[in-house]
Symmetry: C2
Subunit: 260 residues, 2 copies
């Protein structure tokens, strides 16, 4: 095919992927411009379109480079565990471990994401760009379905519908935790060793999630609200009072409000 694949000089390619990854963490998809990426990568502006075809494909490649490995290792771990279990249901801890261990392992390998890998995972979950959301949900739907199935067997007392919700909550706690830049500042401030940080996070997060997943079923049949609204009485009176209001930039300042 007349040289189908470029064998050389993917150094620029890699720098573009790295720059896109770094900027995506701080500014998201829409907040990152092609010029920001090429400047960070010390590459020419046209390099993105040459190597990837466009900005969208660059981000897809950058996400796939990280998340493909993640999901592959997750599924491999789940398969191994289920093979050992030989038909018996796995424990929640084991399934959670199959979700987390690959993530933490990749986060410990600088070549495959390093400490920013978990932040990337979190951001990917919450980025509002429709293009990116569609790409991710299509590409990793099978993996997610497998794990949901495993949790369903591990938690027979939880109805499938309830399980859908709790997994939703769990992934939310995970994604938000990982997406925050502040979280890693906290970790870094606590312990000096980098390698210990991941296990530290897992040790904190796992009991939280497992307890949540195994919590007794809520009583959805009862009609009265979960919290007596009588305590709301006192609050209701003050509704129109001293709430902090945004200064309403009235038209008197018709002079177009100078760039503050």
């Amino acid at each position: 095919m007349t040289a189908a694949e470029p064998r050389a000089s993917q150094a620029t390619r890699d720098r573009l992927l790295k720059a896109a990854e770094s900027l995506f963490l701080d500014y998201g998809y829409d907040g990152t411009s092609a010029r920001m990426i090429t400047a960070e990568a010390r590459a020419n502006l046209a390099a993105i379109n040459y190597h990837f075809g466009g900005k969208e494909e660059l981000f897809q490649a950058m996400l796939a480079r990280r998340l493909d490995d993640l999901h592959a290792e997750r599924l491999a771990l789940l398969d191994a565990d289920e093979r050992v279990a030989a038909g018996r249901a796995l424990t929640c801890e084991r399934i959670l471990a199959a979700l987390f261990v690959p993530a933490l392992r990749l986060a410990r390998e600088p070549r495959r994401g390093g400490k920013d890998f978990l932040r990337l995972l979190g951001r990917a979950y919450v980025d509002p760009s429709p293009r990116l959301r569609e790409f991710l949900s299509e590409r990793y739907a099978p993996s997610i379905a497998r794990f949901k199935e495993a949790f369903a067997r591990a938690l027979p007392r939880i109805t499938p519908r309830e399980l859908t919700w709790r997994l939703h909550f769990m992934m939310g706690a995970l994604a938000y935790t990982l997406a925050g830049a502040d979280a890693w500042k906290l970790i870094a401030a606590l312990t000096p060793a980098d390698a210990a940080n991941d296990q530290l996070l897992l040790r904190r997060l796992a009991p939280f999630l497992i307890a949540g997943l195994q919590a007794p079923l809520p009583d959805l049949t009862s009609a009265d609200p979960i919290v007596s609204l009588e305590t709301t009485r006192q609050a209701r009176r003050r509704t129109p009072t001293n709430k902090p209001r945004v200064p309403t930039v009235p038209s008197t300042a018709k002079a177009a409000p100078r760039a503050a």
Copy 2:
């Protein structure tokens, strides 16, 4: 004076706020353009700068309009509960209720956000725009500190540092749950009545979060990892194999790769 405030025609102003809110839910701050907003609001393009001074101030006003009420009611509820408790520590359920009930109440009032209010709350937590994040963290830091203090008293066995983490997880589960558009499609599909949906969600979420908050402390002193890494062996071998690769787009194939 001389007509300090615009007594008339804040209809356009309100339509702009509403349009900005609706578009922010789907596309985030960076993904929403001034022209999208004015088109949705059926207003002139210049209306944003006339009424608010700029796009950023419009979004700040739109967020403050919703979240100021929320935090005010939250604090009022917390104050009332603590007054009744008379020095004794509140229960986790009660503090959680002070966080959730105002949110659900506002979500039930179409005038103050309606069913999109919770989605707005979630999106506000995860939007990557630095400008917006700074605005929100500055404006609502006091409220967050108050609730953290209340949780610290309710959970004396949880160390302050551990509590910081668990609240972080909790807010993550909350934000991600609410931010998802799919979540509300699920709710709508389950029950016909709108009013029941909020309580339904609270009943599901509360046991999950409370169980997580009250989970036994993790053993952070132990040196060995929480999951034996020997199960990772089998996964490590397959690392460089059949991972799906993004088709590189060399300059010859100028046609963009058809979406797989």
